[in-house]
Amino acid sequence: MGLRARLTRRTRDWIRRRQGADAGPVTLRRGRIYILPTGLGGAFGLMLVGMLLGSLNYGNNLGLALTFLLAALAVVAMHACHRNLEALIVRARAPDPPFAGSDAAFGLALANPGRAPRFDIEAAAPDAAQAPVSVPATGEAALELRVPTRRRGSVVLDRVEVSTCFPYGLFRAWAVLHPALPCLVYPRPAADAPPPPRLPGPQGGGLVRRGEDDFAGLKDYHPGDAPRHIAWKAYARAGELLVKEWSGDAEAVPVFDLADAPGADLEERLSILARWIVDAEARGQAFGLQLPGEEHPPAPGAAQRRRCLAALARFEAPAPDVR
């Protein structure tokens, strides 16, 4: 590890020890804002030194005045840069879980309680950066940090750097947040999975039978119910979406079982299960999930999909990917 990288690591660890973990909204107080000159700031400083030496050499008072005015401008810019971050309220929000391999889009809300707008606020997490935004006076701005995920389980947003170089780019002020914000990562649905097994079997096995032959009554509509089962007449009467239920029909309701999923290792099999779940939900089908020691009875809809994919994400989950 190079000296620079080591130094960066040490600084980060020190900041982490100093500040501890953050929960909930964080107000950027003076104590957690750091500021250093940028490369441009260094060049500006060198220019000022040159101007100072020239003015002293020629005994030129107005040259000195010009040098001092520019130096004072840099000092004011430093304060303004610091102030541009100070008292901002940062709220981090966990995103909807992504599939492994795609980005977890953590939301970051910046609230400005002051009467002056803030300009060019940037946010960065490891492997994720966001273009600068401005926050209007007593207003809010939203940022999105798209953290790439590598594997199933969970990704934890542990380090967010909020920074600004405004106004002149001479200084960079930054604050570090440790939101420790976890986000589940679903297994990536396998690209080509075999179709789920269609085995008629006993209760709790492959399929649950539910009839479609005799009308058995009405039940509440859930997203995912087949449109052809909607009781349109009842809808016209009462304005409520109801679904007709039939008894004794032959539609098979699948319960996906880890044991049925082929694959070389656990991850591959989970991927196949994810594919089955995603496809079944997309078709509007009800489905269940059976994992060792965990059972999700069949149901249709997005909530069921979420529940089941989360179960896959958590099942014998690898250590969280802390960023």
Partner: protein, 650 residues
């Protein structure tokens, strides 16, 4: 044009404008080809950005850069030094403009702009230059703002206004630095040489030199008298003594001569001179100077004051002169010899004339009188625009043209004196001065430049003889405007005609004089005086450090407070604040409004939980709702709400 192109054009326009503003003070000073090149490139570059033309390829730019450097070298004989350096900087900024695309290019241009501002102060520190440079610095900083930004747009960001607000905050900090940064005599590299072509008296005089100066209304120096103003006829400001001649022009003697002494007689005047930069080593003082600010100059054998280094910045000195004086006898042999020197082959007719007139006159004094009478009585004319003279300039002037300016008369007179065996020399300096009644000081301008003669007579020593006074006595008594013909237009003629313009001119000069005294000439002595006034006895570097530290801390605190004020949180509505106070008090007793619970529901809940508070709670809630949502709430309602809340003790 796309929004992106539009923004890029605007950025470039800001930078170019700032750069041109920084170049403006130099454009007239630079060689015309450089100025024209810079302007042409700036115009082309903006048009190219607008129209989307292609930039010239790198090879071409490199070739132009090389040719330009050679051109500067040929024009200035150097690419270092102030003139060459500035020319090169101007040229390079134009070339940089041709390849400016990235923020980095812009930044370099803006930095060059600031350096050009500094360079313009090396040329002139007057008020006008400063008044131009300050907005230029502002403009350049404003140009840096959009360049250095990483985001776009944003609510209400105007680069010029935002930068103005920053500069306003920077001024106190800069002021503290300016006042308390100790001025040191520092030379890090070669002292600036007198390469600068400043107009003014020089160590050499050819016929016509001074008449050029007369057209120049620029201030040479300003004088404040401690006591009465000497009469115009005695305002002879000695600058340099020219005793070496080749028959055409005069120059200062190279070899040092033995020291002579002057004996003051009467008419002592005490005054302070604020001298504009001359690029020369001479100081100007009334004849005959007796005392001057110690260490600032040494007196030469010819009674002139000379500094160690060329005066390249405004210089102030005190002096005491005796208006009537006598120099000591006898004249040292080497000095006598030097002041009789004439080239053998030059001006034969003048020398013959001198021999004849001296023989006729019988005495030195009578000879001088007869020469002056010749100038007065014969057809000699005093004019600003004399014809050019041949190589034997004195002969040409005395027997041919007979039109001349002070230099011609001084040169001819001195030559005649020497030819007759009287030690004589030309003295160059200024004569007269304009009184500024607003500031109460004398302005001596380049147009007051003058040359006269000095002759040495046994028993009397060096005596001033002004042959110009013989031809045009008004020149000495009432100034040059009175002496020249109406048709010869002098600068500032209009100003002298109109009383209002004249007063405005004097007020402007007074402003410049104050600027010189308080800003340009602000030096260590003034700093020490200021520190003593602030209570530091016997200031040393610790006093400076303390003053600088305290001053900077105060200025920074002001910046900090100002920024904090700008960012202060918005004060909540007083009605909401009062209601919030009420809910906070209840919260301390464990009763909190649920999220989204309407005030009336909350009040009912409180009444249920704490029946004894019911009446007050309902009153507060109703008053609050009336103020918030009712039509035309009255000021008393708010007072009542506040009083109810203040008295509310759950």
């Amino acid at each position: 044009m796309s929004a992106e192109r539009e923004e890029s054009f605007r950025r470039l326009a800001w930078t170019t404008l700032g750069l041109l503003a920084a170049l403006a003070p130099h454009l007239l000073r630079l060689r015309p080809w450089i100025s024209l090149f810079v302007l042409a490139v700036a115009g082309w570059r903006l048009a190219a950005e607008r129209r989307g033309w292609r930039m010239p390829p790198g090879l071409l730019r490199g070739a132009i850069a090389g040719a330009g450097t050679v051109g500067v070298f040929l024009s200035y004989a150097a690419i270092t030094g102030l003139d060459g350096g500035t020319a090169l900087l101007a040229l390079m900024s134009a070339l940089k403009l041709l390849e400016t695309r990235t923020p980095r290019d812009h930044t370099i241009l803006i930095f060059i702009g600031w350096f050009l501002c500094l360079a313009s102060f090396f040329y002139a520190q007057d008020f006008r230059t400063a008044a131009w440079v300050l907005p230029t610095v502002w403009l350049l900083a404003a140009a840096l703002l959009p360049v250095a930004r990483r985001g776009r747009g944003g609510p209400g960001l105007h680069p010029f206004r935002t930068t103005g607000a920053m500069l306003a905050k920077a001024v106190p900090v800069a002021l503290v630095l300016f006042l308390f940064f100790p001025r040191v005599e520092a030379t890090f590299w070669g002292a600036p040489s007198s390469e600068r072509a400043l107009s003014g008296i020089t160590e050499e005089m050819s016929p016509g030199d001074i008449s050029d100066l007369t057209l120049n209304d620029v201030v040479a120096f300003r004088v404040r008298f401690d006591g009465p103003l000497p009469p115009p006829a005695l305002r002879y400001w000695r600058g340099t003594v020219l005793s070496l001649t080749d028959g055409f022009s005069w120059s200062r003697a190279g070899a040092p001569l033995p020291r002579e002494t002057a004996i003051a007689r009467e008419g002592s005047v005490d005054y302070t001179v604020t001298l504009e930069p001359t690029g020369q080593q001479m100081l100007f003082a009334l004849d005959m100077v007796a005392h001057w600010t110690p260490g600032i100059a040494i007196q030469s054998a010819d009674f002139t004051l000379r500094t160690r280094r060329p005066v390249n910045a405004v210089l102030r000195y005190d002096a005491v002169s005796s208006l009537r004086y006598r120099t000591a006898d006898p004249l040292p042999q080497s000095t006598r010899h030097a002041n009789l020197q004439l080239p053998d082959t030059r001006n034969p007719r003048a020398r013959a004339l001198a021999a004849r007139m001296r023989a006729d006159a019988g005495s030195d004094a009578a000879f001088i009188r007869s020469v002056l009478a010749m100038f007065r009585q014969q057809a000699f004319r005093y004019t600003l625009t004399p014809p050019g003279l041949a190589r034997d300039s004195v002969d040409d002037f005395l027997f041919n043209t007979r039109q001349g300016f002070c230099g011609h008369y001084a040169s001819a007179f001195t030559t005649l004196m020497r030819a007759a065996g009287i030690p004589a020399r030309v003295v160059a300096g200024y004569q007269g001065g304009d009184w500024n009644p607003i500031g109460g000081y004398l302005i001596v301008r380049q147009s007051h430049a003058h040359a006269w003669s000095e002759v040495w007579l046994p028993g009397e020593g060096w005596k001033r003889v002004d042959p110009t006074a013989a031809v045009a006595p008004e020149r000495v008594e009432r100034g040059i405007e009175a002496a020249v013909a109406e048709s010869e237009l002098l600068p500032g003629a209009l100003m002298r005609e109109s009383p209002i313009l004249w007063r405005l001119g004097m007020a402007w000069d007074n402003l410049n004089a104050g600027w010189n005294d308080w800003v340009v000439r602000f030096d260590r002595a003034m700093q020490d005086g200021m520190l003593v006034d602030l209570g530091f006895d016997d200031p040393d570097w610790r006093s400076f450090a303390a003053a600088l530290g305290i001053g900077l801390a105060a200025a920074m605190a002001a910046v900090f407070a100002w920024l904090a004020f700008e960012h202060r949180p918005r004060r909540p509505d007083p009605v909401v604040a009062a209601y919030r106070r009420f809910t906070r008090r209840l919260a301390r007793r464990g009763i909190e409004p649920a999220v989204g619970e309407p005030p009336r529901d909350f009040a009912q809940r409180v009444r249920y939980l704490r029946p004894e508070l019911g009446v007050t709670v309902l009153a507060i809630t109703e008053a609050y709702l009336r103020l918030r949502y009712g039509p035309e709430p009255a000021a008393e309602d708010l007072q009542r709400l506040r009083a109810l809340v203040a008295a509310f003790r759950p």
